[in-house]
Symmetry: C2
Subunit: 333 residues, 2 copies
């Protein structure tokens, strides 16, 4: 019944629908409608009511739950099983737990709030309540360890494509796992694996996107390195609340397309798209890899996703993973 | 109090101790002693009682629990936190779950019975009740993925050394993860990892040892490939119940010594010990690695644990992991 009311409110998003019309359509009393509307408001939906015109779902309404995501979803497999949590330590941790118990490929764990959000290498990831996308996908690809980095690159490409699709935002990719807008980090990707020596049991792909944070939502020390989509759009003079469910669905759709290729060993599309969006190639970089630090110029990536760096001493290194700083970006000068 | 009685019974293992003496030593009534003895019997201890001589712990008593293991343990870190379970799906699964929750390095999970014991590549591992060692260690070494195979080799060496130490059994190692006696498998090792692309979060080392199985404890189809220590000793004319707790402690002690070296990047000792016990080197092998099958002769292992195979076509391959069949062993002819 709640769903029915919501679906009716969404049908003509800019127009009001009267309580009477809702009550007739759904065959329940107007009091029942009124109760449901209040319940929806408690769940975070912004519903404008006018005694004359009725009810209208505000375009500023950004509620995250399984229903909202499912409504937007156009994928075949990814996100077809959704676990929404209002609060969790870390969606990656939760996803690892349920993956151990055997949850299906493509299971999506998404939370409004992470109390202990994580980035790579044990770092934290600020995940304030209802301000961003904090999600993890459980994947069970039959690929060897050496190809795992392709999943990170594929996810990066998917996020960039999705941002352009739903908001015409042009983002760049800093190798291997950060999405950059205007020189600041707007999204991070964290891949974790459970494996035996010869095979991957499962993989958890964590994606964190800063969506609707304001300046004051960021910890002081991150302000020169991180931004949100909302803050970026404001610099363009646009006041806009992005719907997280819509962006999640767009990311999953783009990712599914690329993931299907990667699973079959077809990396060409990912690599060529990645090159297009790279903010790393051609740049001076400083890299820490296997306890060694070296500087050079990022020249290209290999067809299996390693970064090719021409070092200061003239040697050329292929880097599978590591800490990359790019001159002129995120505080490295 | 139960512990005190046990400790007193263990003090002079071949001699009887009277109920009166126990009651005087511990300062409790003889009825209390009698009750504790019965409780111990229910826990599986074989206690011989004689109305004249008193009580004696039978040398055939093989009870597994945290107390028994701790009593034998001489390690610094490994097994200092013991989780004993009378029955579990798989100790590796349990260990992975508690490792996700943050349990400490060296935590030992050990069970009397695994309902869903696992070998490599999703295969089963027969784990009948109280007949073997079904255990998993949680390790948190700071090593890269490429060195993980060293943990398997180190564990193999530790098991071989421990078997010799406690029962003068000479076992061999089939690369990468099986311990062989008389051409049959007596122990398997399964390493599973939880990792990010650049680092290992934790590693679960599963070790299964067939200790006291009789012929009828094995599934029919395994009889020509697997054996137990007891069955092997019987072929030598020895009737002996091996104490699992003693063997566990011996394996952990040997493994700790080697593990400490591996963690520091010192592989020399492992590799040279491994060569000594290998039943793989010099043999004709058939290998399935990355969906390719090839035959050749196993020549050596590299200093980081890869198997060097001289193939029939004259090429030399280094194999990181894979399915290895050795001519003349475990049914490959």
């Amino acid at each position: 019944m709640k769903r029915e009311v919501l679906l009716n409110l969404k049908k003509n998003p800019l127009e009001y629908i009267s309580g009477e019309q809702l009550s007739n359509t759904l065959g329940v009393s107007r009091t029942a409608i009124w109760k449901v509307i209040n319940e929806l408001k408690r769940e975070g939906y912004i519903i404008e009511s006018s005694s004359k015109k009725g009810y209208r779902l505000s375009p500023d309404s950004d509620v995250l739950n399984s229903f909202e995501i499912s409504e937007e979803l156009k994928t075949k497999v990814l996100g077809r099983n959704i676990i929404y949590l209002d609060k969790i330590d870390s969606t990656n941790n939760y996803a690892k737990r349920i993956a151990l118990e055997g949850c299906e490929e493509g299971t999506l764990v998404v939370a409004d709030y992470q109390t202990n959000g994580r980035g790579r290498l044990g770092r934290g990831w600020s995940s304030p309540n209802k301000k961003g996308i904090w999600m993890s996908l459980v994947l069970r690809p039959n690929i060897p360890f050496e190809e795992v980095q392709m999943i990170t690159l594929a996810a990066s490409v998917a996020v960039v494509q999705a941002l352009y699709d739903i908001a015409q935002i042009k983002a760049g990719i800093k190798w291997p796992n950060d999405i950059i807008i205007n020189g600041k980090k707007v999204c991070g990707i964290l891949v974790e694996m459970n494996m035996e020596i010869e095979s991957i049991n499962f993989l958890v792909l964590g994606i964190g996107v800063n969506v609707n944070q304001q300046k004051e939502d960021f910890p002081e020390e991150l302000l020169d390195k991180a931004t949100s989509l909302k803050m970026y759009l404001e610099t363009l003079g646009m006041q806009k609340i992005l719907k997280r469910s819509e962006l999640i669905a767009a990311i999953l759709l783009k990712f599914e397309e690329i993931y299907d290729k990667v699973k079959c060993g077809d990396f060409e599309y990912v690599i060529s798209e990645w090159r297009k969006y790279s903010v790393t190639l051609g740049k001076e970089v400083s890299i820490i890899y296997k306890n060694q630090q070296f500087r050079g110029v990022a020249q290209d990536i290999t067809k299996d996703g390693k970064l090719i760096v021409k070092c200061e001493d003239g040697t050329v290194k292929e880097v599978f993973s590591g800490e990359v700083s790019i001159r002129g970006l995120l505080g490295y000068s």
